[in-house]
């Protein structure tokens, strides 16, 4: 089995994902796919790409749920899901070969494909379903937090963020260091009640979800409108003496 870093990583990189503004457009999913299929985990193989039972490796998938009641009372929530880079990552500790590991410098959980034997124990250990088995290559792949983009000296500094974050049109994804209490993600999480997915597992995800805001649904019924007005031109009386100028 594989050990987690002995000391907490200096940085805890992760995402704050805003369920209030995610419109479910899949930009995060496909931009992730295009970056990573040519990146450190290349390729993100597709099987039956143009046939029936099409499937493939995705590091980011978006789900949609209706929750909280019936009809207008219910809410539709778009829920993007990718590796949460847990502090207590069981997907690492179950790995029999040392292929899965959590980086000591920034907490990113990665797979060394040279060591992976494709046994899938890690995917059984991940309660979030965030491991992706490349059936064609026979190894496990997963979100790298775009480790080959966020530190990439060949890219302009503003582009050194995960592909999903750069793409997101509604700014529902934020990237940063949760170990730094003053980082944007730490602040957002504090201000917006960022929560751990399935905390009962004890895996202590790094990335947080920001819950949907309650929404301004309107409130109490309006009082009956204007008092009944006379028919005919009488109803215009209020405007007759109004002096207006162009």
């Amino acid at each position: 089995m594989t050990a987690l870093p002995k000391h907490p990583p200096a940085k805890r990189l992760g995402l704050a994902i805003d369920l209030d503004t995610c419109v479910g457009c899949h930009a995060c999913a496909t931009n992730c796919k295009e970056w990573n299929t040519g990146g450190i985990s290349a390729p993100l193989t597709d099987v039956n790409a143009y046939q029936a039972e099409q499937r493939g490796v995705w590091f980011n998938r978006v789900f949609t749920y209706e929750v909280g009641g019936e009809g207008p009372q219910a809410r539709t929530v778009h829920f993007p899901k990718n590796c949460l880079h847990c502090d207590n990552a069981a997907c690492v500790t179950v790995c029999p070969t040392g292929a899965s590991y959590k980086r000591s410098e920034d907490g990113i959980v990665l797979v060394d494909h040279d060591k992976c034997i494709g046994c899938k124990l890690c995917s059984w250990a991940c309660p979030y379903g965030n491991r992706e088995y490349d059936e064609h290559v026979g190894v496990m792949k997963k979100c790298t937090l775009c480790v080959d983009k966020i530190y990439n000296q060949n890219l302009p500094e503003p582009d050194r963020v995960p592909a999903c974050v750069a793409a997101c049109p509604s700014k529902a994804r934020h990237f940063g260091d949760f170990a730094d209490p003053n980082s944007t993600v730490s602040k957002l999480s504090r201000d917006r009640g960022g929560y751990d997915l399935a905390p009962e597992t004890g895996y202590r995800p790094t990335s947080k979800y920001l819950p949907p805001r309650p929404g301004q649904r309107g409130g109490a019924a309006a009082p009956t409108a204007a008092e009944p007005l006379p028919a005919g031109t009488g109803r215009f009386l209020k405007w007759v003496d109004r002096v207006l100028t162009r």
């Binding site: 990146g39 143009y50 009809g71 590991y101 990439n152 007759v240």
Partner: protein
Amino acid sequence: MARDPAIDTSPVVSDEVKYTTCYMCACRCGIKVHLKDGLVRYIEGNRNHPVNKGVICGKGSSGIMQHYSPARLRKPLKRVGPRGENAFVEIEWEEALSIATGWLKTIRETDPKKLAFFTGRDQSQSLTGWWATQFGTPNFAAHGGFCSVNMAAAGLYTIGGSFWEFGEPDWERSKYLMLFGVAEDHDSNPIKTGLGKMKGRGAKVVSVNPIRTGYSAVADEWLGIRPGTDGLFVMALIHELLHADKVDLDYLVRYTNAPWLVVQNPGGADHGLFARDASGAPLAWDVTKGAAVDARLPEIAPAVVGEFTLPDGRVAVPSFQLLADRYMAAEYAPDVVADRCGIPADTIRRIARELAEVAFEQQITLDVEWTDWAGRKHDKITGRPVAMHAMRGISAHSNGFHTCRAIHVLQVLLGSVEVPGGFRFKPPFPKPIPPGIKPAGKTYAPNTPLTGAPLGFPTGPEDLVLEADGTPIRIDKAYSWEAPLSSHGLMHMVITNAHNADPYPVDVLFMYMANMSWNSTMNTKGVMEMLTAKDEKTGEYKIPKIIYSDAYQSEMVAYADLILPDTTYLERWDCISLLDRPICEADGPADAIRQPVVEPDRDVRSFQSVILDIGARLGLPGMTNADGSPKFPGGYADYIVNHERTPGIGPLAGWRGAEGDQHGRGAVNKNQLQAYIDHQAFWHHELAPNQKFYKFANKDYLDFAVQMGFVGHADQIVIQLYSETMQKFKLAAQGHGAVQPPDHLRARVEASFDPLPVWYMPFEEAMVDTTTYPLHALTQRPMIMYHSWGSQNAWLRQILGRNRLYVAASKARELGVVDDDWVKVTSHNGEIKVQVKVMEGLNHDTVWTWNAIGKRSGAWNLAADAPEARQGFLLNHLISELLPRDAQGKRITNSDPITGQAAWFDLRVRIEKVKPGAEVSEPQFPTIPRLVGLEPAPTVNSYGASFHAKAPTERSPA
């Protein structure tokens, strides 16, 4: 402790980065394309681009798979088998161009209107429309008639701009946003970005839509309205605001025709027209002078209510009084409309109150000095921070023009158009109302160009494109009494009318990027039959010759006789022109180019270069030099740089003049394209702070607009709440004037042409038995695939590879239907068999599905048993392009009676649970054989492996 494995966190991403413009939908975002080893490595948004400001959507991020699609056409094709069977031989370009030229030359020499040239999802309409003009056929349009012409026309005839391309919510300042009928399409990234901003600062978002997905899901409040009733809902809001006196009268008298006097002479030929002086100036009643005065003058004190006697003795009232009289009536009270709309009356009243509260109690003041049209200086700009956006759910109904106009009236009454926090025009809009271009085509002759562009804006019956006997001149019957203001044409009627020789047969149907034998048509099965129907006497096809250009093997390819294969969007030059559908933003005009970022690996040519070549071969004016040589031998890129529409005005506004230092107007600059390439493929001009608001009445803006060629003069553009154009058509229907509708359309024209927005029941609903067809049926475009090209995309089809019919949970309980059941869906036009998914966020009486996911087996180089074909389906089979027979036994277009907008969303159906059988959707059609020259699509896609030296692409041997 073991160290972490050494990994390369700084690999070289690309050899080269090229900037261009996305074409995965109509949004036209700026993109950066990373190239490595001659291949596309990564596509990302351009941070500096005015449309997307760095972001990119789910479609745009999948451009690699679109570009390398195995469905790409490879070489020109000539049909050798029966139409519809996909039997072609590959031919050389010279042969293809000779065939096309031969066919077209004969037509041009005899009867140019025998060419029907319709260009689908064309983003080069200023070229294609000009080409049709030079050819001399009035039969030109792109796909706007079946897309959103109701939105464009209602806006252009009311406020001088429109939703989406001609205007946008003030995302930075608005405090309250209402979305009407907005699914996940137009305008893709700006809406997503804007919603993120608005919700981030706590502004309220209300979405009015029968379906709760996408934007409606994140809205603060979702109103699951009954389809086709939005107009009533909006009129009830207007009713409330008028009764509560929550309208901006100061704004109305300054910027709209609210005070213009309307002649009251029931039965007379002048009834309902504006009172005008001898010079034609509209009149208002000045209450201080006690006299009728030129309504456009500054400093007058116009009445907005009252009855006045004109100098000639006629009686007139301000148009505002007519407006108030109509909407204050009891028929628009919330309690009256609530049931029909499916929105509680209390909710309607509350929304009206919220609108008024935000508009008038939370107004924004910008301390910006500006000068109005009359030269008066003002030291501040007042904003009413209520913004609105509307799209397909409004436009795709036969009452959509009026509904869209009603939304604009609501915006204007609140004083929230072209002010901070409201709805803002994108230059070159606003334009005169309507724009001053009339449709050409009333005269046509062999070997002769039209006198102007085929598409324009009639202002009265005299502008209709009719023969002297009233017969429509256009094959789609645009600008006829069936659709008088059809400023985008009626592409959905072309095949039916040509097949029926109504009003006449055509000889060549020439189409571009329009999947008319599948998802881009109503009555798909019927249209497939019409495309293959033969004249019994001659044995010839009823539509004798079909030329089609596309980049991919869409379903339409099988129905053409000659295929002109187009490039992908990464292989081509294009201009996103101010002369066309611009990409400007409210803060300033912009245009852009596409440049080839990779070379085609197939024998394909850009459609635009091909029609310029054909044009030169035909000797068309404008495309041919005096010596007969081609004017644009360098193809479309040559045209983009060297064509001038008027002296100094060309397709691109940036870097004009010999030195490349002029913008807007200027001589041709031979190095213009390089200038665009050097500036990330776009040009953008930021307006000065004093030009950014009240553009219709802002001297500094209007002077700039004249200089740029956007408008002809700097006069104030007065918002037309009351539409005199509409009244002129109504008067004709009532028997006035020289050009009158035929009797079978007289009542329809009289009822639907109203100078103020009206609501009427959508036609199909009014004509079919609603107990037999109790449900509304709609489609929405998925965010990842709108524009329908997604099913060939290896990535996108994993996200959505088949569609289902969504049924409201409450309705499903009534019907005893649960998830995965199969149902038969029946309309007056046909039936389909599909699988069900139940959802909560849906109007009780509505079913819907994702548009254009269903594919025909064998199309797009997908496997014959792909789920798109086997389980996916189209609602299109149920939608007829013709209404049921009317009382006179006639069938006319299933379209808005004003604009000819295809009434997709008027569809009425019933659903019945059926045995699943083979668990295959119905109808199924014979599998289209793979096209000659196309390789079978691969099963495994390892794209990207080559960029990473160590990447294994398959399982190593055990």
